[in-house]
Symmetry: C2
Subunit: 362 residues, 2 copies
């Protein structure tokens, strides 16, 4: 029985999202190395194993260590933090570990302190401007490659990028445009370096591109993560349909305010995270309440969204015609704005009517 805010998984939708992306990777002859930062769960990881996955991506060494009990080929898609060198050595002793670099200083530190085999990806900035080398920084790349070639423990894996600027898109065309530019940039690097490194990998990552694009020619690997659950942000971007959203936060109603068409739920920023969306009609929202029937949630109810969050409280707007329908003790099922952060803030717990018996997420 649900008594407080609980993130619920619809295992059927989750499996279907995984199968869809695995099939797409196979169709385009891509290595599928899903990002596990979204779910952070060994149990959900096993659903990927069922779909034939044997390589994964994470965003911290802490996560790499957690998953290293069941996965032996992990890329940490985050710039190397040289202060964690002992953790790097501990994990690299045990499994195939790939790290990202974008500077020769960091790489030289690795070269001097790493005692086990490490795969190295060079991070390329394709326009998101968060991290990575500019695609025309050939002298820096050559310097990095010289250090790798001189090292007995380091091997060059290829070029990796994350076109995170697709998250600002609001149309398929805009996403496809970024995807094509990303491809062109990476293919340029491949043609420049392929003679020297015939096995080099081009790896791309963002869920919007991987969900929508159909032209992956020249790309070798995809690393999407969010698609395992999807969320309202991906719905707004156009990466998914409402029925693909595989998590919802179950929240008890604790107060009703029909005078201002509002409910108060137990479910705040410590459960959802404070990620928000701007909607033309509804303004700033932190989640949408979904219809719930026969033990399953469905589409978002128009006009019923989380309009404000405190630490533990959520304020939910209620359409005029529905305002008499709710009372304290009811449970609302809220689709999150950003499932990665909501998953981190909360915990995916088991709910018999929703989660298949074979899955027991942590």
């Amino acid at each position: 029985m649900i008594t407080n805010p609980t993130l619920i998984l619809d295992a059927e939708k989750c499996r279907s999202n995984i199968d869809m992306m695995a099939r797409k990777a196979k169709l385009h002859n891509l290595v599928f190395r899903p990002h596990f930062k979204t779910h952070q769960s060994l149990e959900i990881g096993r659903l990927f194993r069922d779909a034939g996955v044997d390589k994964i991506t994470v965003s911290s060494l802490e996560m790499a260590e957690y998953f290293s009990t069941e996965w032996n080929d992990i890329t940490v898609a985050f710039p190397v933090n040289i202060l964690e060198i002992s953790t790097i050595n501990r994990i690299a002793e045990k499994i195939c570990l790939n790290l990202l670099v974008e500077s020769s200083e960091t790489l030289r530190y690795l070269q001097q302190h790493v005692c086990f085999e490490l795969g190295i990806f060079i991070k390329i900035d394709v326009g998101y401007h968060r991290t990575g080398l500019s695609p025309d920084a050939i002298p820096e790349m050559d310097q990095i490659l010289r250090i790798i070639d001189e090292s007995s423990h380091l091997s060059f894996k290829g070029f990796l990028t994350h076109a995170g600027h697709t998250y600002s898109c609001r149309s398929r065309e805009a996403i496809l445009d970024i995807h094509q530019k990303t491809r062109e940039i990476l293919l340029g690097l491949k043609s420049h370096y392929l003679n020297r490194y015939p096995d080099l990998i081009l790896s791309i990552g963002d869920t919007p591109s991987c969900s929508i694009a159909d032209d992956f020619s020249g790309i070798d690997e995809i690393r999407p993560g969010n698609f395992v659950f999807y969320d309202l942000m991906q719905l707004q971007i156009g990466s998914c349909s409402p029925d693909q959203i595989a998590v919802a936060m179950a929240c008890p109603v604790v107060a009703v305010h029909p005078d201002r068409n509002e409910l108060v739920i137990y479910g705040g920023s410590v459960h959802f995270s404070k990620e928000r969306l701007e909607d033309e009609q509804d303004g700033t929202i932190y989640g949408r309440v979904a219809a719930f029937e026969n033990g399953k949630w469905g589409e978002p109810i128009p006009g019923m969204h989380v309009k404000g969050l405190s630490q533990e409280h959520g304020i939910v707007s209620v359409p005029e015609i529905m305002k008499a329908n709710f009372k304290p003790g009811d449970i609302l099922y809220v689709l999150p704005v950003h499932s990665c952060l909501t998953r981190h803030a909360s915990r995916v717990t088991r709910h018999a009517s929703l989660i298949d018996d074979s899955i027991h997420p942590q």
Copy 2:
């Protein structure tokens, strides 16, 4: 040694904040019932005990249960969630527990299901419009009081409010204006009900009012929480000075981008939370880097702030003249926008040079 994002406590500043508020409460003859949702730590709770505190406030039954090992008088400043009745009974059997109600339906449920003594505060909405009864809802209050009077386990404690709209203020005058209106509303209720309930308590809560106001006449109890750490939001509101901010997130630098005057730190939305501030000069910010000398952080460095957050990454702007000063492996000390959420997202860990040996926060 710090190797990854770590929330650091300056115990001296923290003790000084606690002593300041405890002295203020004593001066104005107020019961000091601090809100523990900010720190959520038994260890920091003991600093309050040292300052003479013996009653506390929390925002969930989960927190009440955690603190009930060391505190025996706890108010849960959150509307009663009737689905957690068994937790309510378990805690009320052990300690003095006070709960908030704003509807006779919820209260009737409590009356029927509670097996131990419970103190009841009526929650009043003084203008924040999150929860609570309108001050003129006298018939509803009378109905609630009738149910309490008929019950053998329930006793009326008084009227409680949280003037959370002070968080939108940007001047002392605006805060004091809300504080005076809050006082007037509560004093009106006191004069109406004092004959029938001569021991009734008026309880107020927000950190801005409690930090700035000097007129508490007629008020009986204060419940501020955030002041134990303060943060950039309270600094912007005008509730504190920079040297009162008692927590900072220590974050390793993982990449430098002098071409765009930016650094990338290991420290993202899972560490800071995604709470943000709008600053006239700097735009949207998620934290400010503080100067650091002799094992202590000081004032924020102008122009050096967290301008973007991903799940694990923070993007930090660097003033032109300082951009050559940083390299991967350096540690930055970042003052958080909202210490309550940052504390929840991360953990206050011990750092020998900053934390007094007598304190070991969880």
